[in-house]
């Protein structure tokens, strides 16, 4: 977005540097006063910054943990206990890193759903949206491999189950047969697997940083969308990012850090699984394997389909389908504030997603309401999940009667102010 303010340092030293490497100008134009954003952004727009904050937290604590962690099948579990008990502030670093993964996913899920609700995926922000999905996929891979590193029972059996997903592709000529053994580096999850997961778990966050930079770059081309979903035109519709949104983000960050700290300091193991405090045992599968909470809805989709290959395909499709959203949604209006019918289906989608998460956490043959097994509910929920994208979104977005949209952001804000 073309900036109205140009970075022009008065300090001669700064100016000397800036003339030779315009780095400060780049930052100034990216998140400083040189970047202007719509004046009506609400708190749902905080979550991108919070996600960026969490990525930094995970990288910093991760680098520290690696100074004490040992990626060896005989030592990994004990080295994590060593960090938690013996290393100075190790308890803090480990708790921040383990809970940080959950916090990262919480803010990213809200960030994604913000995009659903306010039509952030719609033209001209499609590539921005794609980069976001790629970030999310990388996060899932990184989170999974990180969970394997403590080498507890859930680490080991989670790794076994998830790497075995790829055995569903054994029908592919030449590569299909040896695919899982290639991932493992052996005939089961073992030392080579732990070693390579450690390597990739260290690498991928930096890849994430790269994609995040592309994500922000793509954001700066059209600029942020806003709760009204109409384009910001002219100076009356916008305010400089600094100090307006740096202050708003800082406040949101403060609230978020309190929430985060409550987990770290009071319930550091709440989101973990007790079985992961038992060292990995390749002869004993835990009675009830569950992934981390942030994968549960997709795990429920996987289990809802009784066929191995189709289950895997459905699980991957449930995420990849987001790539098609810019075209599935045919509405000319971005924000659901003016799309009353879409809004209802959206909230059902959110509740349905939470319900899938619950179903993923329990055994599929558990008897729920009206005497049906959990798998039956998972199948209904999975059906709604895909129907939302494949039927509801294309049809409703093209048929529904929308509400009148304000002529400009400034007009809408002034109108709201006039009413008090």
């Amino acid at each position: 977005m073309a900036s109205e303010h140009k970075f022009d340092p008065t300090n001669p030293t700064l100016k000397w540097v800036e003339d030779r490497l315009p780095l400060m100008g780049l930052i100034y134009n990216a998140i400083g006063a040189g970047f202007s954003a719509p004046r009506n952004l609400n708190y749902w727009w905080n979550f991108g910054v919070l996600a960026g904050f969490m990525l930094v937290v995970q990288i910093v604590t991760g680098i520290v943990l690696v100074m004490h962690y040992v990626p060896d099948v005989n030592l990994a579990f004990d080295s994590v206990q060593h960090i938690r008990r013996d290393v100075n502030y190790g308890w803090l670093m480990q708790a921040i890193h383990a809970n940080g993964a959950s916090m990262f996913f919480i803010v990213v899920y809200i960030h994604i759903l913000r995009g659903f609700y306010f039509g952030s995926y719609k033209s001209p922000r499609e590539v921005l949206w794609f980069l976001g999905i790629i970030i999310y996929l990388l996060m899932m891979a990184t989170g999974f491999m990180g969970y394997v590193l403590p080498w507890g029972q859930m680490s080991f059996w989670g790794a076994t189950v998830i790497t075995n997903f790829f055995s569903a592709f054994d029908f592919i000529p030449f590569i299909g047969d040896g695919l899982v053994e290639w991932l493992w580096g052996g005939f089961a999850v073992d030392q080579p697997t732990l070693n390579r997961f450690f390597s990739l778990h260290y690498l991928l966050p930096f890849v994430l940083v790269g994609v995040v930079i592309l994500h922000i770059w793509a954001l700066h081309i059209p600029g942020s969308t806003n709760p009204l979903g109409i384009d910001a035109n002219g100076p009356y519709d916008k305010v400089p990012f600094h100090p307006y949104y740096t202050a708003k983000d800082a406040f949101g960050l403060g609230v978020f850090v309190i929430f985060f700290a409550a987990f770290v300091f009071y319930i550091p193991d709440f989101l973990g699984h007790p079985d992961n405090y038992i060292k990995a045992d390749r002869l004993k599968t835990p009675a009830h394997i569950v992934p981390e909470w942030y994968y549960l809805p997709f795990y429920a989709i996987l289990r809802a389909i009784p066929d191995k290959l189709l289950g895997i395909v459905a699980m991957f499709a449930s995420i990849l389908i987001m790539f098609a959203m810019p075209w599935l949604d045919g509405s000319r209006i971005r924000s659901m504030r003016f799309r009353p019918l879409s809004k209802i289906f959206f909230w059902i989608f959110v509740i349905n997603g939470l319900f899938l998460g619950y179903l993923g956490s329990i055994s599929p043959d558990e008897i729920l309401w009206f005497g049906f097994e959990a798998i039956v509910y998972a199948q209904i929920s999975t059906l709604y999940y895909f129907a939302y994208f494949c039927v509801i979104m294309p049809v409703v977005s093209r048929m529904e009667t929308t509400l009148p949209v304000p002529t400009s952001i400034a007009a809408s804000v002034l109108e709201a102010n006039r009413k008090g």
Binding site: N164, G178, W182, W184, G186, P192, R303, K308, P364
Partner: protein
């Protein structure tokens, strides 16, 4: 008519193509070691085998052994279990039809992989609806011949190569 310029153009196109092709081969050649290093290494591949003393497994019980880091089930089947397995040879719910006779060398000894063919968990002995094994991860039921009968697993528990060294010892692998 072929002009000088045409010849130059043609020669240049050929050079582009040749350079591109050579580059693609070079990249592929450089990539292969990077990909192949992830495959099982020589020491992992080194053929390993284990010997199992069958006298320690009473009739009607199973034992689990580790072979190539994976569990192997050895079940000493009773007459009733063998009869049940054989009676089910043509059961309509066999997902991966196989006769019990083809899965054993001696009917009383069932020797097979203990890795669920769904996602690799270890099924539990003497559980499930078919008197065989039940996988707690995603609910696959195997019968007393290790054949998949119900649930998401696509195939029977595989039978690996083994031989009877004598009446009381087998060698797996």
């Amino acid at each position: 008519m072929t002009t000088h310029d045409d010849v130059v153009e043609e020669r240049r196109n050929f050079l582009y193509l040749a350079t591109g092709a050579a580059g693609a081969v070079a990249v592929g050649g450089a990539a292969w070691p990077l990909i192949d290093q992830m495959n099982p290494s020589k020491d992992v591949l080194a053929l390993s085998s284990i010997e199992v003393d069958l006298t320690k497994i009473p009739e009607g019980t199973s034992a689990v052994f580790l072979w190539r880091k994976n569990p192997v089930f050895v079940r000493h089947r009773t007459e009733a279990e063998i009869a049940r397995a054989r009676a089910d040879d043509n059961a309509p719910d066999l997902v991966d039809p196989q006769a019990d006779e083809d899965r054993v060398q001696r009917p009383e000894w069932l020797v097979m992989s203990g890795v669920c063919t769904h996602f690799g968990c270890i099924p539990l002995d003497q559980q499930g609806d078919f008197g065989g094994w039940f996988c707690p991860c995603h609910g696959s039921h195997y019968d007393i011949s290790g054949r998949i009968r119900r649930g998401p697993a696509p195939a029977n528990l595989p039978v690996m190569g083994y031989e009877f060294l004598n009446d009381t010892t087998i060698k797996i692998g």
